[in-house]
Amino acid sequence: MKHNRTHPEFDSSGSRRDFFARTSDGLLGAAFAWLFSQEMFSGQLAYAEEAEHESTELRQVYDLKPRRPHHAAKARSVIQLFMNGGPSQMDLFDPKPYLNNMDGKPFPGNVEEIGNQGTDDIGVMMGGRYKFARHGESGMWMADILPHTAKMSDELCLINSMWTDHPNHDNALYKIHSGRLFMGYPTLGAWTVYGLGSESQNLPAYVVLQDQLGPPKNGARNWTAGFLPPLYQGTPFRPTGSPILNLKQQYEQPTEVTETARTLLSSLDDIHRSKRNYYPELESRIESYGLAARMQLSASEALDLSRESKATHAMYGIGEDWTDSYGKRCLLARRLVERGVRFVQIFMEEQPWDSHADLAENHRGACLRTDKPVAGLLQDLKERGLLDSTLVIWGGEFGRTPTTQKSANGYSGRDHNMQAFTSWMAGGGIKGGTTFGKTDDFGHKVVENPVSVHDFHATILHLLGLHHQKLFFTRSGLEERLTGIHPPRVVTEILS
């Protein structure tokens, strides 16, 4: 096969632009588009420091080359531990003694301020279901069902004053991931790789690790590139079997036959191309066949957890009933970040934190599955010196109400609360041992230092060296931004 990498078609910026403008929105398109860009732009692993940051305004070519940030970055990559369903702030991070005392009594305010689906199913006040204690040097409060995370509290910054705009899962999920309440907008991860590109040569820039029990609520819309060019969308690695669909041959055929078929194909394509000059897409197509083969190797290596020590496995709870699945994904996230992947999202199936019923037991289960792996991840990143450059984010799409809600088996859980919830961050530029923001006596509303979703996003971008105002994409003549029209606030108080 003739591979002429310095073919004039590939060198003129015009055809490169054409080529990338056409990159797909196929399910896994981003990964491959990325591989392409590497192939075509030299194949050398380049670091961001070497590349000039091109203003997004001037950007004409869409690729995943590493880009220089707007300002010095604290974090180089992000691992987002997404807690779908909405964990309860007053049960896990934000103790409310007054609420505990009111347990079983009616809500003293206007119940309309609580109900999302009307007021019929609102029950009485519900005290926190677990014991709280102070942890670490900062004396951070945490519930006893997070014993492992508690040990890492000096690395964490709890933001107890998060709030969002919609009490529905669907919309709140769009909001927390893309800053908008509706479908079709790019997610934080997509904006990040649009702004910074990737530092990995053989892996996608933005990887999504799903639970083998099923996809999260809202599925692929949690990692969509929206209106950004599709190469910025997240690439989901399948939780079972081969990580990418059809990465391996799905039928029986001897290897020697496959090799002969490959040779035949390149001969056929060479004949085809020889009569068709000046069609760069034909060259690209041939390259894509070669790259498909290479992808198999690099992905397999990164995904091979057996290369890690027993001690590491144990740290993540791998091999233990409750923690095996989540632990593996956390370890995988570390291996990906280590290899230069920019943004990793870990999801659980559906929405395990959504506890309208039996909150005490359900949250216990969700904590059991995630607590040890999450702490293991933080510990492991720290030991390897990666925590300084990796921002870890933990949280869901909203919080929960101080009152109980009626469900099939009576009043034992909490409804959605968009007015207050807790998220935490750790690593890359975050001031550890911080508890930020305050809620009222019930944990129902924010009363001090509110952090909107836009503020949250602006802060994350800031840590990555991106300025929320300078990061935009022009669409139908409008500058679109992750953080919307009204200027957000970078929460400088939580930065180290």
């Binding site: 403008a21 056409r22 990159t23 797909s24 196929g26 399910l27 398109g29 990964a31 491959f32 591989l35 369903g85 309309e112 999302n116 689906q117 009307g118 529905n168 899962h169 669907d170 479908m183 083998q212 029990l213 099923g214 996809p215 809202n218 599925g219 599709p230 399948r238 079997g241 990418i244 669909l245 059809n246 990465l247 391996k248 041959q249 001897p254 020697e256 036959v257 002969t260 035949l264 194909l265 394509d269 004949i271 085809h272 068709r276 000059n277 069609y279 897409e281 034909l282 197509r285 894509s288 066949y289 498909a292 929405q351 506890s355 309208h356 019923a357 039996d358 037991e361 289960g365 003549g477």
Partner: protein
């Protein structure tokens, strides 16, 4: 400097500022021309501001909109004379020193009118006190009706808000009732809104004669004649330079010293025409027919024959479905509910293309089919009447989350209406109308007012204050024959179906129980039945023990079928059988009478401009109208109820549709002609298919575009005639080979110095694969074909009983379940529609084509077909020839034949004890080759 003293004294508007404004802003913001609704000639109008409703003057400089706009805010616009530093200084000093003026500011009339309170009442009250429901006998849609009130007396007492029932009920939170807020999707009025209601009542609840803002015979201050001079806003010009496509093209080629590429060979033309018009290669017989035809006009005959093929509508209808944003599901929420009988619209579109329905008629039906015939009052319903109603499905294709029990508030409804306007603008009008929703269009002369006039056109059918639920969007007008068939055929089948469905449910539970029994022999039978019960509870309402049970089940369900114990496999078999039986019963059923439509209900709410697009910031009352820039600005829009004696309808959409399809409409024919050109030649004459506005691409051949548009209309808006015109041109018959010269002088092929190589789109690729391998099921129309999602996220298409598949246009389009093969080849995500498909080259394509199971199965079938058509004496040479003829519609060259012979020989050797598999591998490789995927 005219006013030296300005340094010492506070500047005054009339003396210091107005001259600057007149000089630099006056062209767009005067009494006569009011861009953005803004007039800057007097202090009164400056204080009033423009369409955003914000005054230009404020306490501080930073809050002053005037300052923000002139100080780096883009005013005056690029290209216009800018304010000098001195002029800026004057404005700045004036604003900071009290913004004084000599003339007293006329106190704007602050008395409230009914149009200050009606938007509030519509938003908060009329759901229960309006057209559909009149709780307590109260209708609040007019001041008169408010004064009349209901069984508890008048709703208001003019002059006395404290004693007005509506104020009392609102302030005590009795209205809207707490338990009904979500049921009727209303929110409580805010304090500011209650203040407005109180003030209006206190002022005597006055009703004034206020006419909606509509086009009149007076010149339009918001759009100038200069604005109307953009080429696309003027009617197509009758040109006489040339009488054919080739003439126009040759002129430009000549100018750079280029000529058209040589004509492509016959086989290339055959394949090109087939893929272009029907989306599949010719059968062996058809290929031979044209290949061997001795007729001089074989080519024209072939085009005619293809245009007559029923597959033509399946191919070209699909392009229209992209524009409409056709989907079989609502989208918006995770559940992504299915749209029953949306497919009737798909069939309508395919049929319309096959029948060559005149394009103007096609548009009128889709925009206003319900206003064409008063079906409800017709003695006999004909299929054409039903089709008119089905056609209006065009306006109901967008993403719609208003079926959700929490997402059906006015803002979401406005989003649905905006999608319909977006679809109309981008597909039919070549305008980005949706940009004018929140403020006047940034580039095109489309004031925000025009967006809302257009919204008023739809108000009779799409009323955010009188919204139809998903269930109520169906009409059941049907022909007597259809009704009879449904009555005869369906009842016994429904009984059967009910029985089978309940059997299936049992069988599925039996699988679950068997899974638990086999994998957890120690589990108690109670726990097993509890697991089944838990499955019936929504996952977020399950108790922990229930969650654990369900998870245990899910874990064993993950085990592949081939590794399951025998008993499980048997139980699964029973399920599969029942599913087949159900599918067969369903396929025997007559489609339901239902039609998914949009129809005018004759009672539109008033339409208000929404400031900044916000649902609770009403501005001017507007009436229906069309974008002023596409008219002379002095032509009133006249809509009359089409059935004065019959069903009440406004006739607004019909009037709009008639205006849109006037023969000399500046956009309608041009946009369509350009789109057809795009599909035949690879790019449009105007590259930006959806934007003919100021920021759109300039046409490469403006005269040709106009000539085609006029020809198209003159030929009765016939799309098939347009195909003939384009495909019979010499330009279309060019070879796709790029000569060095052509590449140098026409690198982007803008001059059409050759045909462009095209990659097949997802549908033609899949349909061609199926066709070549003999797995294409030719049945057309009806309910969409099911798709299935496996645990790994692979979305596949279910085959029919015969193990075949129908064409891709008949696939179920569910927004959350796009078939993997299709997605890989750029099948679109509708948001809300798709203007043109992207063409990607990514490695997932080779993985799908080389490693995927489905394409392999098709390769096996292809090889079997080849073998079955060979006679006994045939050798590998015969095989290679046949493969080429079937897949590529041509015979192999000597080089290719030799390559094939060598390959088959080697493959046979390497397959060792399965030499017959060599042909499968060969066929599979052929299907993977560039020659198959690309069309010359």
């Amino acid at each position: 400097m005219p006013h030296v003293a300005a340094e010492e004294r506070a500047p005054v508007f009339e003396v210091d500022v107005l001259p600057v404004i007149t000089r630099k802003c006056g062209a767009c913001h005067s009494e006569k021309v009011q861009k953005g609704g803004l007039n800057l000639v007097s202090m009164t109008s400056v204080r009033r501001g423009g369409e955003s409703g914000e005054a230009l003057i404020a306490e501080s400089l930073d809050d002053s909109l005037l300052w923000t706009m002139v100080d780096g805010g883009g005013m005056p616009p690029e290209g216009e004379p800018q304010l000098t530093a001195d002029e800026l200084g004057v404005i700045r000093r004036w604003l900071t020193m009290g913004a004084e003026s000599t003339m007293p500011v006329e106190q704007a009339d602050t008395r409230l009118t009914q149009h200050d309170i009606l938007p509030i009442v519509l938003l908060r009250c009329t759901t229960c006190h309006g057209a559909r429901i009149q709780r307590g006998g109260v209708d609040l849609r007019t001041p008169e009706a408010m004064k009349k009130g209901g069984k508890n007396g008048p709703a208001l007492v003019a002059g006395d808000p404290d004693n007005s029932l509506m104020i009392q009920r609102i302030e005590s939170n009795a209205c809207p009732p707490r338990d009904q807020l979500l049921k009727y999707f209303v929110r409580r009025p805010g304090e500011a809104e209650v203040r407005v209601l109180r003030k209006w009542i206190a002022e005597g609840a006055q009703e004034y004669e206020i006419l909606p803002d509509v086009a009149t015979t007076e010149p339009d201050p918001l759009v100038t004649d200069e604005d109307r001079q953009h080429w696309a806003f003027l009617p197509p010009r009758q040109v006489t330079e040339h009488a054919s496509i080739d003439g126009f093209l040759a002129e430009k080629l000549d100018a750079v010293g280029l000529a058209m590429a040589p004509e492509a060979d016959r086989d290339t033309l055959i394949r090109r025409a087939y893929i272009d018009l029907v989306g599949m290669p010719p059968s062996l017989t058809d290929w031979k027919k044209w290949h061997d035809s001795p007729n001089a006009d074989w080519y024209e005959q072939m085009i005619d024959e293809l245009l007559d093929s029923p597959h033509y509508g399946e191919r070209w209808g699909r392009y229209w479905l992209d524009l409409a944003g056709y989907a079989d599901s609502e989208g918006g929420v995770s559940a992504d509910p299915l749209r029953e009988v949306a497919w009737k619209y798909r069939d309508y579109v395919i049929k319309s293309f096959n029948d060559d329905k005149p394009y103007d008629r096609f548009l009128i039906e889709q925009l206003a089919g319900d206003e064409l015939v008063d079906v409800a009052n017709e003695p006999v319903v004909t299929q054409d009447m039903v089709d008119n109603l089905i056609a209006t499905g065009f306006l109901r294709m967008g993403i719609d989350q208003t079926g959700s029990r929490t997402m059906n508030f006015v803002p979401e409804r406005l989003g649905v209406i905006d999608d319909a306007i977006h679809v109309l603008g981008s597909s039919v009008m070549g305008l980005t109308l949706e940009c004018a929703r929140c403020h006047s269009h940034k580039y095109d002369p489309i004031p925000q007012r025009d967006y809302y006039r257009l919204k008023a056109v739809f108000q009779g059918a799409y009323d955010e204050h009188d919204w139809l639920t998903f269930k109520n969007r169906y009409l059941s007008d049907a022909t007597p024959e259809h009704q009879q068939r449904v009555a005869e055929v369906n009842p016994p089948l429904e009984v059967k179906l009910k029985k089978l469905t309940s059997q299936l449910k049992k069988a599925e539970n039996e699988v679950r129980l068997e899974l638990l029994r086999q994998h957890y022999p120690n589990q108690s039978e109670e726990d097993r039945t509890e697991t089944l019960r838990a499955l019936g509870v929504a996952d977020n309402n399950r108790s922990l023990p229930q969650r654990i049970l369900v998870e245990m089940l899910q874990t064993v369900e993950l085990i592949p079928d081939e590794d399951q114990p025998h008993a499980v496999v048997e139980a699964l078999h029973v399920v599969a059988q029942l599913e087949d039986e159900i599918a067969s019963v369903v396929s025997e059923m007559e489609p339901p009478l239902k039609v998914r439509a949009l129809w005018d209900r004759g009672e539109p709410s008033p339409t208000y401009v929404l400031l900044r697009g916000e649902h609770d910031k009403p501005g001017t009352l507007v009436g229906p109208g069309v974008p002023s820039v596409l008219t002379n600005g002095q032509t009133p829009f006249v809509a009359t109820p089409p059935f004065p004696e019959g069903t009440p309808k406004t006739g607004r959409r019909l009037a709009f549709a008639r205006w849109l399809t006037q023969p000399d409409h500046p956009l309608t024919a041009r946009v369509l002609v350009n789109r057809v050109w795009h599909h035949h030649f690879g790019t449009g004459l105007v590259k930006s298919l959806e934007n003919f506005g100021v920021k759109g691409e300039t046409p490469t051949h403006p005269e040709l575009l106009d000539w085609l548009a006029i020809q198209f209309v003159d030929h009765g808006w016939s799309v098939k005639e347009l195909h003939r015109m384009m495909m019979n041109s010499r330009a279309y018959k060019q070879s796709s080979e790029v000569s060095e010269e052509s590449h140098r002088l026409d690198p982007q092929n803008q001059l059409l110095s050759r045909m462009s190589l095209k990659r097949m789109d997802a549908e033609s690729l899949r349909d061609s694969l199926l066709f070549v391998s003999g797995k294409l099921d030719n049945r057309s129309g009806g309910p969409p074909d099911a798709i299935s999602v496996d645990r790994d996220g692979l979305v596949s298409i279910e085959p029919s009983k015969e193990g075949k598949w129908r064409r891709s246009v008949y696939l179920q389009y569910r927004r959350t379940e796009i078939p993997s093969l299709m997605a890989t080849f750029d099948y679109p995500v509708m948001g809300p529609n798709c203007i043109s498909r992207s063409v990607s080259t990514v490695s997932l394509q080779p993985l799908t084509m080389m490693n995927g199971k489905h394409v392999r199965e098709l390769a096996v079938a292809f090889a079997e077909r080849v073998e079955s058509q060979l006679d006994e004496q045939s050798d590998d040479g015969g095989r290679v020839s046949l493969v080429y003829q079937m897949a590529f519609s041509r015979s192999p060259t000597d080089e290719e034949r030799q390559l094939g012979l060598d390959a088959l020989k080697q493959l046979r050797m390497k397959w060792k004890d399965q030499p017959e598999m060599s042909l499968v591998t060969y066929c599979h490789t052929i299907l993977n080759s560039a020659q198959f995927l690309y069309v010359d």
